[in-house]
């Protein structure tokens, strides 16, 4: 992303954001509500146009409309992006078919087994809890195997075993050269795993560093953002 800005009406959701993602990175995207995390994820997913600046993915300008490059991008929205009136198995079949052709029954069974939904195959998504929906979304991306996976606030919906399952999946994706960008408010949980942290505040990147141990600079920057958010300030 090069000097990317996004404006909604009179509100600057993002201002001159520069971000370069490397294969194998797990980037924690942090910041208070309204900092621009979801907007940034939507721009990376080509679900929104930047008002200014350019977004490139794997060396190509970001695809809008029909492009096979879209097959390399995944967006894990906890609870969303699933049809309530389709069953678990039907949702999986439908979405995977748009990426790579139909998944075999064996594949579906195996992946549902891995995410702990093997007994829910025939149930409607409307009957699932938020955590189970999140597990189903994980199952979908396990089958699709995107090279860039954008994850929006997953931890709140998942129980501890679900969090472990998700983290294992994200780590395997990074180990295979994929990139994970995970936006969350659960800072301690994501700090355990991420390889880099980016903090957004009022649409600007105020911190961007690879993981260190100890990571004093991160804590200083994060506390600064939190306290400035509490006191308020011009956008």
């Amino acid at each position: 992303m090069d000097r990317v800005s996004k404006v909604y009406g009179l509100l600057w959701a993002l201002r001159e954001v520069r971000l370069e993602l490397e294969p194998g990175e797990w980037v924690a995207l942090l910041g208070p509500n309204g900092a621009g995390k979801t907007t940034l994820l939507r721009l990376l997913a080509a679900l929104a146009y930047p008002t200014a600046g350019a977004v490139e993915l794997f060396g190509q300008p970001l695809p809008y409309g029909n492009s096979p490059l879209r097959g390399k991008i995944g967006f894990l929205a906890s609870g969303g992006h699933l049809y309530d009136n389709l069953t678990v198995s039907e949702n999986l079949r439908f979405f995977v078919s748009l990426y790579r052709g139909d998944a075999t029954a064996e594949e579906r069974r195996a992946v549902l087994d891995e995410v702990g939904l093997h007994e829910k195959t025939g149930e409607y998504v409307s009957t699932l809890s938020l955590g189970m929906r999140c597990r189903l979304a994980v199952a979908k991306w396990r089958l699709v195997k995107p090279r860039l996976l954008l994850v929006d606030e997953p931890y709140g919906a998942l129980d501890p075993s679900g969090v472990d399952m998700l983290n294992r999946f994200l780590e395997s994706l990074c180990a295979a050269g994929g990139i994970v960008v995970l936006a969350t408010h659960d800072v301690p949980r994501v700090l355990e795993r991420c390889s880099r942290a980016v903090i957004l505040s009022r649409g600007r990147v105020v911190f961007d560093e690879p993981r260190q141990d100890p990571w004093d600079s991160f804590h200083t920057a994060f506390n600064g953002v939190v306290s400035s958010q509490d006191t308020g300030g011009p956008r």
Binding site: A45, A46, L47, A77, Y83, D84, L86, E90, L98
Partner: protein, 226 residues
């Protein structure tokens, strides 16, 4: 092309499954169309002398209003849970999405017409049973014309706040050639004109369908991603 057809198949599979489980589109279309026919039969004085001139217009108004009701709900299933984002995120041909929506809407309207046409004949005491193949052919062409434009404009108004109001305002003026072509053809078939007079209306309907199905296939990408 096989990729597009495969995507059309899966998108249709999803739409039909959702419709079979919810049934709201088809049922609301059917009861609305039926109510309109009853209202028309009470509101207008249809006699043996004017039935072939008036009935096609009333029939097509009923189809168009019921169809507009369905168009307003066409993308509703995809809007829930942000599924539309999930579809746009996929490497799915936007043209395939357009074709799937046209075929789905066309199928719903055909089902409606299969029920409404005989009822219409009974209500308006039309002796048109021997003319049904011709009536059905022109109704098919008109219905396709309605769907190819309607789906495109339903997509245009998809993100508008007042989409329920905006859709008919944008759609109805563009429907004039379809209404004119279909109503005039049906008037001719029902006896108010000579058979050779059908040819220009047939050409108009086929031309309209081809132009707008091509435009919709090519333009949906700009409509959805723009």
């Amino acid at each position: 092309m096989t990729g597009v057809l495969r995507q059309v198949y899966w998108l249709l599979w999803k739409d039909f499954l959702l419709e079979v489980r919810r049934r709201d589109n088809l049922l609301s279309m059917f009861f609305f169309g039926l109510s309109l026919l009853f209202l028309f039969s009470f509101a207008f004085e249809i006699t043996r002398d004017n039935v072939s001139r008036m009935a096609p217009g009333l029939l097509w108004l009923a189809f168009m209003f019921s169809g507009t009701l369905a168009l307003g709900q066409l993308f509703q299933g995809d809007r829930e849970n942000d599924c539309l984002d999930a579809l746009l995120l996929a490497p799915m041909d936007r043209g395939a999405y357009y074709l799937a929506k046209v075929l789905f809407n066309f199928s719903l309207m055909l089902l409606l017409e299969v029920f409404i046409l005989p009822l219409f004949g009974i209500l308006f005491r039309l002796d048109f049973w021997h003319l049904l193949p011709d009536v059905f052919l022109y109704t098919l062409l008109g219905t396709l014309g309605f769907c190819v434009v309607g789906v495109l404009f339903a997509a245009v108004t998809l993100r508008a706040r007042a989409r329920a109001l905006l859709l008919p305002v944008l759609l109805f003026p563009l429907m004039i050639p379809v209404i004119l072509g279909t109503v005039r053809s049906l008037q001719i078939i029902l006896g108010a004109g000579a058979a050779p007079d059908l040819v220009p209306w047939f050409r108009l309907l086929v031309g309209f369908d081809l132009i707008f199905i091509t435009a919709g296939f090519l333009l949906l990408e700009w409509v959805l991603d723009g």
